[in-house]
């Protein structure tokens, strides 16, 4: 019976996904007229030009890893620090390539300031809109990673703080009844921290960093105080053996996204998407490699920096006052 329903559902889906609409006297809106179509992009005029010119591509081994925001005419670029590790080269919208040097990292905001190595002093610079009066339902745009097109959407939700998420091992636990005192692993999340370290289903965790683990709560408490990237020493009892295993903790959201239906369809999201003092949310269809680039309003003012791709449709941006504040001390000293 169930399979019958599934077949019907599958048919309905298939119909709708593969051109059923075409057979039904309905014409589909042509691509250029859709929200992100070329006609609508064109209507943004000079704001579109500015968005592509004040954005750079950041490359590692010739591969795009992030976008950057030109904040000074001598070639200073602000970007998302945790996406940009190992960036060697920057490419501007005119196709020119420059070597890069890191100048500063700002951990709290996950920003990093780079300098393009050149004597040129005429880069197109963004114009911060620090008053942050962008209310929900405002047009926003950002350069596409090809630096020729833009992507379009609107802001939504309440600007807000995103709290810190502790590190996780990526295991599901169960209360164990075996004679060994500890907490039993009932499931290991594929590809997560514990999986990569070699923990197995059925292992009983007895100690973490030399502290006895009596129950699930005590384990969660110890791990929750650690950050993603921290290494913990885990002692487990596996059948008759005692094993000591080092686990590099992962990000909560990334780890448990594997169980989240919304995120299974998301495609890649940013690793760090937590612990921001303030964010504005929008729906631009951009990839995690577009983080670090500037976000503009209809008038071409820079209202923020894209800082985290969160799911298949949502992105967080740091409102302009944050990046402008953290870089002002440094940039004011420049000639």
């Amino acid at each position: 019976m169930k399979t019958f329903h599934q077949i019907i559902l599958a048919l309905l889906y298939a119909f709708n996904l593969y051109g059923y609409t075409d057979n039904n006297n309905s014409e589909l809106l042509i691509a250029s007229e859709r929200l992100n179509g070329s006609s609508i992009q064109h209507a943004f005029g000079s704001s579109k030009e500015l968005a592509t010119q004040a954005t750079v591509r950041l490359l590692r081994n010739n591969k795009l890893i992030a976008l950057g925001t030109i904040v000074h005419s001598s070639g200073y670029v602000l970007t998302k620090a945790s996406s940009c590790v190992g960036a060697r080269e920057a490419e501007t919208s005119d196709g020119e390539k420059y070597l890069l040097k890191i100048k500063k990292r700002y951990e709290e905001t996950d920003l990093a300031l780079y300098k393009l190595i050149t004597d040129k002093n005429s880069f197109q610079v963004i114009n911060w809109d620090v008053d942050c009066n962008t209310t929900e339902g405002s047009w926003v745009l950002a350069a596409h990673t090809n630096l020729k097109e833009i992507r379009i959407g609107v802001t939504s939700g309440t600007p807000r703080k995103i709290g810190r998420e502790g590190g996780v091992m990526g295991v599901l636990l169960t209360t164990d009844t075996s004679p060994v005192k500890g907490v039993k692993i009932s499931e290991v999340v594929p590809q997560a921290a514990a999986y990569r370290a070699g923990l197995l289903e059925g292992d009983i965790i007895t100690e973490i960093d030399n502290r006895r683990v009596k129950n699930q709560d005590s384990l969660i408490k110890i791990i929750g105080k650690k950050d993603p990237g921290d290494v913990v020493r885990v002692k487990v009892s596996r059948k008759t053996e005692i094993k000591k295993i080092l686990v590099t903790l992962g990000h909560r959201s990334v780890t448990f996204d594997l169980f989240n239906r919304n995120l299974q369809m998301s495609g890649p999201v940013s690793k760090r998407k937590d612990n921001f003092e303030m964010i504005i949310q929008h729906d631009l269809p951009i990839s995690k490699e577009s983080m670090g680039g500037p976000l503009f309003n209809l008038d071409g003012k820079c209202i923020g920096i894209n800082i985290a791709r969160v799911d298949r449709v949502s992105t967080y941006a740091l409102p302009a006052y944050l990046p402008s504040k953290v870089t002002s001390l440094f940039l004011e000293k420049l000639p």
Binding site: M1, F4, H5, I8, L9, L12, Y13, N16, L17, Y20, T21, N24, N25, S26, E27, L28, L29, E33, R34, L35, N36, S39, I40, A43, F44, G45, S47, T135, E136, G137, S138, W139, G153, V154, S156, G157, T158, R160, R261, N262, M265, Q281, D283, P285, L298, D299, D311, R312, V313, S314
Partner: protein, 324 residues
Amino acid sequence: MNRFFLHALILFVSSLLLGADVVSEKKWFSETPQNHDDLKAIQDRLKLILSGAKKSLVAIESEDGAGSGVIISEDGLVLTAAHVIGETGKKMKVRLPNGKSLPAVSLGGSEISDAGMLKITKKGKWPHVQIEKMNSSKVGDWCFAIGHPGGFDKERGIIVRLGRVIGKTEDTLQSDSRLLGGDSGGPLFNLNGKVIAIHSRISKEADQNFHVPIECFHINWKFYKEGKLLTFDKIEKKGFLGVSCQATEEGLKILNVVEGSSAQKTGLQKDDILFSLDGEKLDSREELTILISEKSPNDAVTIEFRRDKKQISLQVILGVRPSE
């Protein structure tokens, strides 16, 4: 030619009555913006009607999941998706944007179109919005989706996403407004602030999502409101006629008659136009499916149809759906 003249006359008269309004409405309602001012007009319009639209949104919570819905009457009738209500007569909870939780009960709907209804059972005057009339929305209209993606989140609030209607058929409306799980059942508005569809399914492409057009609700309003739910289970077990149709302006045109079915035995043919069943006018394929699935095998129904300009009335004894 006549029709053109009539349109021109209507436009002329209404422009006299409304003055500049007709011109400015065009800018933001369904046109492709050409410049900054056109874009600004769309943005201004969205901001003007957004807060009213948001007040009518509810988060729907039940044991097996979360969705969204929209209140469309003062006494608390809520439109949502069939897959959000699941079954009829189920006790559910809805949450207003301020976080207030209210008791509700699921009414009817259809698993084919995914239209669903529920009713707030607490007495009160609930904030509500209007639904758009039959056959008003069209491809190219600007629209916006609101919902509670991932469930109610007071700090984040309601999420809005702008887009355009990119396709519309009898049973599906497609838009490029982005959607996530939890948005299901939430409303899609046009820029007049009226509900034109209900979020149903996401597609593989983030910019081609599926909604239940408001027409599905209009046509089967009574059925849904009385708490009747068209399920795949019912379609499978209840009466079977044996035709596949396409909706036309005159009625449902038969595309195919199933070999050995009641329809074939009674003499229904390809290209016959069905226009009523037991006196009920047929406006959509879904309505035909609903009416048939209310009957059992061996029940008799009266079908009126047109063949070569002749109007014919026939009694058909319904059969059983073939297992293959």
